[in-house]
């Protein structure tokens, strides 16, 4: 059994990926299509209806994000492994981690012919941050000096003082404080430039966006709730040049229907295999599948504002809970390998990731140690035997019920306490209680990286008062460790400091890391050269016909 189907498929993918990256370098010089495969094929992929108009700074969910990412290009884009490569940037320089000088490449144009200059960037970012424009992703500009003034409720300030245009091709950025990983974020879709027309009529623009990416929206290409058609942008000359004749996202209401379409070759790429098909998709699709970890994880957040979960007793109890969960078993039995047991708070595809941070033992299943920790906690503050520990989850999507039930049973068996799953009917309801800090027990949580950096998994979630800090975790030592990381001179020093900060988290466990997300997708026999990026999204621009 040394060569299981999976490992063979992975091997094939690895070879394909090597071939692609190998050709990528020469490909940009000699034009596209040197990887073999039919470049005249239009790729049919699955998508979901964007929630908001297709305005980059107003899009924060996957359905719209996938499209924005393909029709816009930013200063940098991420290569398949998550390394930033310059796309529109000529150079990004900043020695102190606080002041950056950014040079934009010359002669770059939007598909409507408008030139992309330093001003395009500054105007787009100011637009995204200003409160009066109510852009959902405005928070991504928070590190820039002057953001607070522009984003305050009711503010009429429309520009951030930290952004200055030097000349047509150059602008400078001043941050509020040094953040060594800030340039890493520039590949996120909120940071792309939009043409001047977009700022005058964002709503109209959101219907028919004009971008500068490897693809552009076809004429009348967005048929709402039905499909979004993208065609290659011939003027694009960055690292993500399209190697096919277009990508059409067919909008699906559920993954099961998409899977049936894939089986009958009516769909070329299915990004995520539905839970119902996890058991048999490998026999259905043969080697046309992928199984690749990406930058996302799943955790259980336990709010410290609950009396039983605060202080030293709370910490011991969280450790007990963590050690009472058999992650290996659940990832194997419930997910059939579609998740990997977590060994830290981030994700393995990230630069600087380590699976052996001191304290990672707390994430290993150990019934005896778990019981010991629980008893010790009882010595400090007695746990009421009548009390039920709940794990809340949203039942409307994501298929969380199965694993929550499994965790519930493991906790019951190991710790001998009352545990229950607590379903919320909708995601919205669950988020409401989490943000209002009115949870009565733990809640399933998780993080999908916005940009490939360890900090993105730590700062926004566990820093004191951070916006996504559902657990209400507050630890000055951790905050200090995080800012040390941001102040570090180099990215690798920064990563070391971030992992130091993780040591604190692994003891405190404000949330209990469960597993890393693994992208499991499949494709039809009409396409080839399929690989996924660091974020679990297929690299559509590389896909060709057979």
């Amino acid at each position: 059994m040394r060569f299981s189907r999976t490992s063979k498929a992975l091997g094939m993918v690895a070879i394909a990926a090597l071939a692609l990256t190998g050709c990528g370098a020469s490909g940009s010089a000699s034009g596209s299509g040197s990887t073999g495969g039919d470049t005249s094929k239009v790729i049919l992929a699955d998508g979901s209806e964007p929630q908001r108009p297709l305005m980059p700074a107003d899009t924060n969910e996957v359905g719209g994000g996938k499209v924005i990412d393909m029709i816009f290009a930013g200063l940098v884009s991420y290569d398949p492994s998550g390394k930033p490569v310059n796309e529109l940037a000529e150079s990004i320089e900043g020695k102190d981690g606080q002041n950056f000088t950014i040079k934009v490449k010359k002669d770059q144009k939007f598909t409507n012919g408008e030139a992309i200059t330093a001003k395009s960037f500054v105007d787009s970012w100011n637009f995204g941050a200003a409160a009066k424009n109510a852009q959902l992703s405005g928070g991504f500009f928070e590190s820039i000096k002057g953001y607070d003034e522009a984003s305050a409720e009711g503010s009429t300030v429309e520009t951030m003082s930290g952004l200055k245009v030097v000349d047509d091709q150059t602008f400078t950025v001043e941050l509020k404080q040094p953040e060594s990983d800030w340039p890493l974020r520039l590949g996120y879709t909120a940071f792309v430039p939009v043409p001047s027309g977009a700022l005058k009529d964002p709503k109209g623009f959101g219907e028919k966006p004009v971008g500068n990416g490897p693809y552009k929206l076809a004429d009348g290409g967005w048929q709402h709730n039905v499909q979004i058609q993208l065609v290659p942008n011939p003027d694009y000359n960055g690292p993500r040049k399209a190697k096919n004749a277009g990508v059409t996202f067919k909008i699906f209401q559920n993954d099961d229907a998409a899977y049936q379409d894939l089986l009958s070759n009516n769909l070329d790429i299915l990004q995520t295999i539905p839970t119902s098909a996890l058991k048999n998709f490998k026999s259905d699709l043969g080697e046309r599948t992928i199984n690749k970890p990406y930058a996302g994880n799943q955790t259980i957040a336990i709010p410290e504002y609950l009396p039983e979960w605060s202080g030293e007793a709370g910490k011991l109890r969280r450790q007990a809970i963590s050690m009472a969960i058999n992650r290996d078993e659940i990832t194997k039995v419930i997910f059939s390998g579609a998740r990997q047991p977590a060994k830290d708070f981030t994700a393995p595809v990230l630069d600087g990731y380590s699976d052996s941070i001191p304290g990672a033992d707390n994430l290993k299943f150990d019934a005896t140690k778990a019981k010991d920790a629980w008893t010790k906690a009882d010595g400090i503050q007695k746990w009421d035997a009548e009390k039920t520990f709940t794990i809340a989850y949203n039942a409307d999507k994501g298929g969380h019920k199965a694993w929550v039930e499994a965790v519930v049973n493991q906790l019951k068996n190991t710790l001998g306490i009352k545990v229950e799953g607590k379903p919320y009917a909708t995601f919205k309801e669950a988020r409401n209680d989490a943000t209002a800090k009115t949870l009565t027990g733990s809640i399933r949580s998780g993080w999908q990286a916005d940009y490939p950096s360890l900090y993105n998994f730590l700062g926004p979630i566990y820093k004191t008062g951070a916006g996504s800090n559902d657990a209400n975790y507050a630890n000055p030592t951790f905050d200090k460790a995080i800012s040390d990381g941001l102040n570090a001179a180099s990215v690798s020093d920064g990563n070391k400091a971030m992992n130091k900060a993780q040591e604190i988290l692994l003891t405190d466990l404000p949330a209990i890391p469960l597993w890393y997300q693994v992208a499991q997708g499949g494709w039809s026999d009409k396409v080839t050269n399929v690989d996924y990026g660091w974020d679990g999204v297929p690299l559509y621009y590389n896909v060709t016909g057979k």
Partner: protein, 309 residues
């Protein structure tokens, strides 16, 4: 007759107001803040959230929200959904698709149900009758989503006779399989209803008289048996049109049809009050109008029924 129709139309007004009020209240009472949900797992930017709440009147108390909605109806502008598109446009996109599906299902269940029911009724107790009865019992017994997945997998994936999901245009051809799935349950009811009704009427005095008069078998069946047997069937079909349109949500999900059910489901999940209310209200109106049509058909089928007084 015309006063009767006018009266029925006037009755639609309170129904309309009641339905919108009730549905609006139900959506309003859904737990969770839709604007918070827009941010997903990301931190909520209060300034942005406040701005959006004002835009969608979500900062107002229930009565004000409802009045805003009524105002928007009377100015023929139903407002916007969360992606900033006019709800009227959304309705214009989804209703034709679901209407096509529901009407195709109705034709399927009507034609096949009545034909099979009539034959079964006329051959009561024979082999055909028994087979049809058992088959219809099985169809009624199996939930629609099981039938849907089964037919989708066998006919769509394995045999490849039809595409497992509908194409972007949702043409009549694409919708044949989904319409059969949607109509199957009601088909069985129509069949059984017709059969029972036919058997009852076959023993009626006027049928015996007609036969005794020497009328041809065909004329007896068509004019005397079938026409009289259709009254309960028509009632059922009329009420079923509304049920089919509202109940297409499962079928639409299985075959990925971009219709009412899909949009309604999404709107409920994301808490878009005005979208939900608009869709449901149109469904209620369709239900009322098809019932009115049924009542008018009665008079044609059974001349003893008169509406003027």
């Amino acid at each position: 007759m015309s006063t009767y129709i006018l009266r029925r139309f006037l009755q639609l007004i309170p129904v309309f107001l009641g339905a919108t009020l009730l549905v609006y209240f139900l959506v309003f009472s859904l737990p969770g803040d839709p604007i918070v949900a827009l941010f997903g797992d990301k931190p909520v930017n209060e300034a942005v959230a406040a701005k959006l709440r004002v835009q969608y009147h979500l900062d107002q108390p229930f009565w004000m929200q409802y009045l805003f909605y009524l105002q928007s109806i009377f100015t023929f502008d139903l407002g916007q959904d969360f992606s900033g598109r006019p709800i009227a446009t959304v309705l214009g996109e989804v209703f034709p698709v679901t209407a096509r599906l529901a009407i195709m299902a109705l034709i399927f269940e009507g034609v096949f149900g009545i034909v099979f029911g009539l034959i079964a009724g006329l051959r009561k107790g024979k082999f055909f009758d028994a087979t049809v009865l058992v088959a219809s019992l099985i169809v009624i017994g199996i939930p629609i989503f099981v039938l849907g997945f089964l037919l989708q997998f066998t006919i769509g994936v394995q045999l490849g006779w039809a595409k497992p999901t509908v194409s972007s245009a949702a043409t009549v051809q694409d919708l044949i399989l989904p319409a059969i799935v949607l109509g199957l349950g009601s088909f069985a009811y129509v069949l059984r209803l017709t059969r029972t009704s036919v058997i009852e009427n076959m023993n009626a005095d006027y049928v015996r008289t007609a036969t005794a008069k020497g009328l041809s078998r065909f004329r007896v069946v068509r004019v005397h048996i079938l026409r009289n047997s259709l009254i309960p069937v028509i009632t059922f079909l009329g009420a079923d049109l509304g049920a089919l349109m509202g109940g297409a949500i499962v079928t639409e999900g299985i075959f990925n049809i971009p219709g009412v059910g899909n949009r309604l489901y999404r709107a409920v999940l994301s808490g878009e009050g005005p979208t939900v209310v608009s869709i449901v209200t149109v469904l209620v109106l369709i239900y009322c109008l098809s019932n009115l049509l049924v009542d008018l058909l009665y008079a044609w089928l059974d001349p003893r029924i008169r509406y003027d007084n």
